[in-house]
Amino acid sequence: MGAQVLLDIVGSVIIGGLLLMTLQRFNNENVANNYKYAGELVVQKNLVEIVKLIEYDFRKIGYSADYAHMPDRAKSILRADTSTIWFLTDLPTDTTSSYGNGVLDTVKYSLGATSELTSTPNPNDRKLYRQVNNSARTTANLGLTQFKLTYFDANDVKMTGMPATMPVLGYGIKEIMIDVAVENSSAYDNDYSYQNRALWRQIRLSLRNYVTR
């Protein structure tokens, strides 16, 4: 074996090594990007699902298929807090009527504590609970980190003094601002920085069934 051959082998090892290292780096980058892109997609989809659910329920506050069953619709919000709301509505719970059955339902939304979701790497995510009447509370881990409700009265003034219960809030609330933030429950490299959150805000949800006529 001459020096030329030895040089070829060393050169091949170096070039092959560089190539392998490039491939390795390429693979790592791809895994990271894949994780981030897929995580972002999941976060965005979770956000839309949460928003759809909130809109579905909240737009029905004070609704009843038989409007005579809701004699004083201004009293259909039973409890209001910054992350809790109880209200009366008429959900289409049976198959006979897609517009509700005229029997009032009590819907409760509340936000759980971060300590309830210690099994996920994300220290900020919480459960959003939804309960209809006396049925069991339902929830899912969708990476929710913020569910904030802000109430405005008929004069568009922000209401303070929460929590408010009937009859104090009776004729008060006219609009609700809803803030929702969702993060990845298990983000790549545990990066839960602010810029990775997906945010949604309903600036003013006007309660069509609730307004004082």
Partner: protein, 417 residues
């Protein structure tokens, strides 16, 4: 050999790059498409609301709008609008608006993501004066809202509102005149809205009396004395004649009691839903067209303690509704009814003379052409007449005495989306 290997290597890497690139592109596309789906759903929902508002507008300007179905296309959305009368007797209507968006098929999107459909259903009913806790066409020149006044429920006046205290209004306050706060800070908890004029109809009593054929009618007597006695009623034409007794359910099946050209004196306990319509042309508190409240007029089942109470009374006078000064009323009077004084006032007889008579405990609503006085006083001291304790019967938001006069327009009572 080396050239071929290099070519294969380059092609291999290119293939790997393309596959990764496609995956990333698809994920990025899915992310934006996810929000596009939400956006199109929201657009559909908004378009359905637009369809509802188009028909609401039609109803608002043409109260006699007939049932119809039509389709409109706007900004890529097809809106199928329908207006249907579901209760001809009460003129209750249903508006349904169905908005659809069909997008060109995309290979990346399953079918449900490119076809969107939202349905909104609204029930409207004629807007009646019975919904008001307080309504006046004119407030009178020297009557003020004081710090002791609280109005629960919708409030309207075409006149000028004057204040000498921090009155509290829990419902929406609308007014056509001016607002003179005089340095006070009244509370408008339900909001307020000026430049609103709602005309008291000149045919309110006629509306009630037009249903006399399905109810009861008394005519040809200048005075009528009515006493509700639960399931029955008794009446006579002077204070010395014998009473006529009637079972209400057979005497007035539709709940309307029409009394033509008479002065009516009323009291008793009401069981069921009734409207008493009194016509006449007197220009004073006495004479035809006036209703005099001679004693307490109360519901058999108290709606304050039993919200399922079906008892409801409408007193509809062409002229005034007067609380009589008599022994029965000298120490408080309880009035449970929706009051409508078409051309006059809800007023107390000799409100500015004699000793204080306690409190008017009103549970219902007051609609009057000109605000009438019920007493005189200063601060918490009453000099004459009555103090006021007016509570709104919240059932009047959704139900009403039979054929109570209407405002001539519709209102939304239920919105489903």
């Amino acid at each position: 050999m080396g050239g071929k290997a290099t070519l294969i290597l380059v092609m291999g890497f290119t293939m790997i790059f393309l596959i990764y690139s496609r995956n990333f592109t698809k994920m990025a596309t899915d992310t934006s498409q996810n929000f596009s789906t939400y956006y199109y759903g929201l657009k559909c929902k908004t378009a359905a609301a637009v369809g509802i508002n188009i028909l609401n507008n039609r109803l608002f300007f043409r109260a006699g709008a007939v049932d119809t179905v039509f389709t409109i296309n706007y900004d890529g959305v097809t809106i199928l609008d329908s207006l249907k009368t579901i209760d001809p007797y009460q003129n209750i209507k249903k508006i349904v608006s169905i908005a659809t968006i069909s997008l060109p098929h995309s290979a990346f999107a399953p079918k449900e993501e490119w076809y969107f459909k939202e349905r909104t259903k609204v029930i409207v009913k004629p807007s009646l004066f019975s919904k008001y806790a307080y309504f006046s066409h004119s407030e009178g020149a020297s009557i003020y809202w004081s710090g002791k006044d609280s109005i629960f429920g919708p409030f309207h006046s075409n006149g000028n509102l004057q204040f000498n205290g921090n009155a509290v209004f829990t419902g929406l306050v609308t007014y056509g005149g001016t607002l003179s706060l005089n340095g006070y800070n009244p509370k408008f908890l339900g909001g307020k809205q000026g430049n609103t004029h709602i005309q008291i109809p000149t045919t309110g009593v006629d509306t009630v009396q037009s249903y006399a054929s399905g109810g009861a009618q008394i005519s040809g007597h200048s005075k009528v004395y009515l006493e509700f006695r639960g399931d029955s009623i008794r009446y006579r034409y002077n204070t010395t004649s014998a009473w006529n007794y009637r079972l209400l359910s057979t005497w007035t099946p539709n709940g309307v009691i029409s009394i033509v050209n008479a002065e009516v004196h009323i009291k008793g306990t009401v069981k069921g839903k009734y409207s008493v319509g009194v016509s006449g042309s007197s220009t004073s508190l006495t004479g035809s067209g006036n209703i005099w409240i001679e004693d307490n007029i109360q519901y058999n089942t108290n709606p304050r303690t039993n919200p399922n109470s079906q008892d409801m009374l409408g007193l509809v006078a062409e002229k005034n509704i007067v609380v009589a000064e008599n022994t029965a009323n000298n120490s408080n009077v309880i009035i449970e009814a929706a009051l409508f004084a078409q051309e006059g006032s809800f007023i107390v007889e000799d409100y500015n003379s004699g000793s204080p008579r306690g409190t008017i405990w009103l549970y219902g609503g007051v609609v009057q052409y000109t605000r009438g006085a019920v007493g005189t006083g200063s601060g918490s001291t009453m000099y004459t007449g009555y103090a006021k304790n007016y509570k709104y019967d919240t059932r009047l938001q959704s139900t009403y005495p039979p054929h109570f006069p209407g405002c001539g327009s519709f209102e939304i009572v239920s919105w489903f989306e």
